[in-house]
């Protein structure tokens, strides 16, 4: 199976700081990692490769330091890594991001002399933007059927059998290939790689794709120009200061809580 996994390098710092002048996040490279659900997608890809053979390619769109995330994926099972990096791609919302990724995927497939990958995988959402839009939008640009919220993917006949974890139920879906699947928690054992893989991952050549590498790329559909949405404002959740402190002995405090419950008709 030829599998392509889209990954995103995300901010992981729980202590979020905002630049008060520009209303943007203060990003430091020390706080970056591969989006957790993308790693889950990679784990599934590795298992599928063990069962069916084939190759795993990873692709990311980002600044040059996103190479770190891609090397981590090479360590953890990917065979080849690609980075879409160009000033034109910057400032992209989900529509522009998914367009750019789609063009990158088509280009890599063409170079591999295949019409399309059998399976395109991504995490169900990213830890920083949380939109969960890129997967379905990527499927739309590539004209692929999609199955989301996967916790397990297996070969079944000529297609795939996907176990979806939804809020109120589990759904088993069968999908033809080529297709796109977004992945949540798989429950698979994490794979840390080997020393040999680590050395190989540090030495590997990551192919950088810029606009000029992709014939027919429409600049108007990428980056800021290709983004119909923009963030006008970003702010920390409202913090109320105070409220009433109830004090006293345990029984006094309980008495007061009881009164509050009575007053709010909760009893």
């Amino acid at each position: 199976m030829e599998i392509l996994v889209c990954i995103k390098q995300v901010l992981t710092a729980l202590d979020v700081k905002i630049n008060p002048e520009t209303n943007t996040l203060v990003r430091q490279s020390a706080d970056c990692a591969v989006n957790p659900y993308d790693l889950q997608a990679l784990l599934l890809a590795v298992r599928l490769k063990e069962e069916c053979g084939g190759n795993i390619y990873v692709l990311s769109m980002g600044p040059e330091n996103a190479e770190m995330a891609l090397r981590e994926c090479l360590l953890k099972g990917a065979d080849e890594a690609f980075l879409l990096s160009d000033g034109v791609f910057a400032g992209a919302d989900t529509l522009a991001t998914s367009y750019t990724l789609a063009q990158g995927i088509k280009k890599i497939a063409a170079d591999k002399k295949i019409p399309m990958f059998d399976l395109v995988l991504c995490g169900k959402n990213s830890a920083d933007s949380d939109t969960a839009q890129v997967g379905p939008q990527l499927a739309e640009w590539l004209a692929l059927p999609q199955v989301t919220y996967a916790e397990d993917v297996k070969r079944a006949g000529g297609g795939l059998r996907v176990r979806r974890k939804l809020t109120r139920k589990i759904e088993i879906a069968e999908v033809e290939m080529p297709c796109l699947v977004t992945v949540g928690d798989t429950g698979l054992e994490p794979y840390y790689g080997t020393i040999r893989r680590k050395i190989a991952s540090l030495e590997a050549k990551i192919k950088i794709l810029s606009v000029s590498d992709i014939p027919g790329f429409d600049r108007n559909k990428a980056g800021l120009s290709g983004s119909p949405t923009r963030t006008k404002e970003i702010y920390l959740l409202q913090k109320k200061s105070g409220g009433q402190r109830i004090s006293g002995s345990a029984s006094e405090m309980v008495e007061r809580v009881f009164e509050i419950l009575q007053d709010s008709n909760a009893l």
């Binding site: 979020v16 996040l25 919302d93 989900t94 529509l95 998914s98 830890a127 920083d128 949380d130 939109t131 969960a132 839009q133 997967g135 379905p136 939008q137 739309e140 059927p145 999609q146 199955v147 989301t148 919220y149 809020t167 139920k169 589990i170 759904e171 088993i172 879906a173 069968e174 999908v175 297709c179 559909k221 983004s227 119909p228 949405t229 923009r230 963030t231 006008k232 970003i234 702010y235 920390l236 959740l237 409202q238 913090k239 109320k240 200061s241 409220g243 009433q244 402190r245 004090s247 345990a250 029984s251 405090m253 309980v254 809580v257 009881f258 509050i260 419950l261 709010s264 909760a266 009893l267």
Partner: protein, 332 residues
């Protein structure tokens, strides 16, 4: 139809309100601003019946495509239908509930229309300066809120987290037009088939999203056993039990009880937070309007910034006493 505000709805389960009906309230606000109508758009089996319900809930009009539901995943067919309708009528805004279906379908439609979509909003307003809808959504695992606008392209699309807005009242006296449309789609070419569905066995009793009172616990409850106190208190108050993420991950409570950015959004009148530190990701699941009583051992816990009433103490101990008191009161 140019200034109209569309709500993509789905026929509700067991003849209940259509999914997405709660978006009628924010839709009306937008319709007032743009000088248009609110329109329910429903595709699928039972669309016409759901449209009648939508009218009783207050939409001005409904657009329906009645289609039999087969054991296939209809996302591509439904996305194509909404896309064709949007091309034909040119609405100003399309809203949908951020259910799994909404989150699968709306991004594809937005990509087809090459317009902007903002997902999982917790509020919808108007940005007067940009003359656009202001979509407010959480970002960064719930640590931040972002105001997103779709300045130039139309329709402006957004999905809204279920539970943020109140379900509307049904009034069978309301009237409105129902337009039947048809968008043919080759259903034999559908690539995704659903072969099995396993209902969540834990789903029973009061749904946490509907509870007026929620009693929730975090690590400060100290043990899984202490959660029995929460269950008992919730029972006495006729409410539901919730949990924070760390506690759900450790299996002290079911994942379904988890409240927060990556879990459920609740809208109780009263929220009792026991042994919960008050991390932003958890608070993202509770609206500003809920009255919060917090019990925590640590006087510096951030929950006290949010709580209307704060108690510094051991949650398990306080709960034990409170339960005794309530039981005595109820027996009198």
């Amino acid at each position: 139809m140019k200034n109209d505000i569309w709500i993509y709805m789905e026929a509700g389960a067991d003849g209940g309100l259509p999914v997405g009906a709660e978006l009628i309230v924010p839709a009306k606000k937008l319709a007032g601003y743009y000088g248009g109508k609110t329109v329910a758009v429903i595709v699928g089996e039972g669309a016409k019946a759901a449209a009648e319900d939508a009218i009783f809930c207050g939409v001005d009009e409904a657009l329906v495509i009645e289609r039999p539901r087969k054991a296939v995943c209809n996302i591509e067919a439904d996305a194509n239908a909404l896309y064709k309708l949007a091309q034909k009528y040119g609405p100003e805004v399309i809203l949908a509930a951020a259910t799994e279906t909404g989150r699968d379908l709306m991004p594809r439609v937005a990509a087809k229309l090459e317009t902007g979509l903002t997902s999982d909003c917790i509020d919808i307003g108007i940005d007067e300066e940009m003359r656009s809808v202001a979509f407010i959504c959480p970002a960064f695992s719930g640590n931040l809120l972002a105001k997103i606008i779709c300045e130039k392209r139309r329709p402006q699309m957004g999905t809204v987290r279920p539970g943020v807005f109140k379900k509307p009242e049904r009034d069978e006296g309301r009237t409105g037009g129902i337009i039947c449309e048809d968008v043919p789609h080759d259903m034999t070419a559908v690539a995704v088939k659903i072969v099995e569905t396993i209902d969540n066995p834990e789903k029973s009793g009061l749904q946490i999203e509907d509870a007026e009172t929620v009693v929730a616990g975090g690590r400060g409850m100290r043990s899984a056993k202490n959660f029995e106190l929460l269950i008992e208190l919730a029972g006495l108050l006729g409410g539901a039990v919730g949990a924070t993420r760390p506690v759900a991950d450790d299996g002290w409570m079911a994942q379904e009880a988890m409240i927060g950015q990556t879990g459920k959004t609740v809208r109780p009148a009263l929220y009792i937070a026991c042994g919960i530190s008050g991390a932003a990701q958890h608070l993202a699941g509770i609206p500003e309007t809920s009255v919060v009583i917090a019990i925590n051992n640590d006087e510096n816990a951030p929950i006290f910034n949010r709580a209307d009433y704060g108690i510094v103490g051991d949650a398990a101990e306080i709960l034990q006493r409170l339960i005794r008191k309530i039981k005595r009161y109820k027996n009198d």
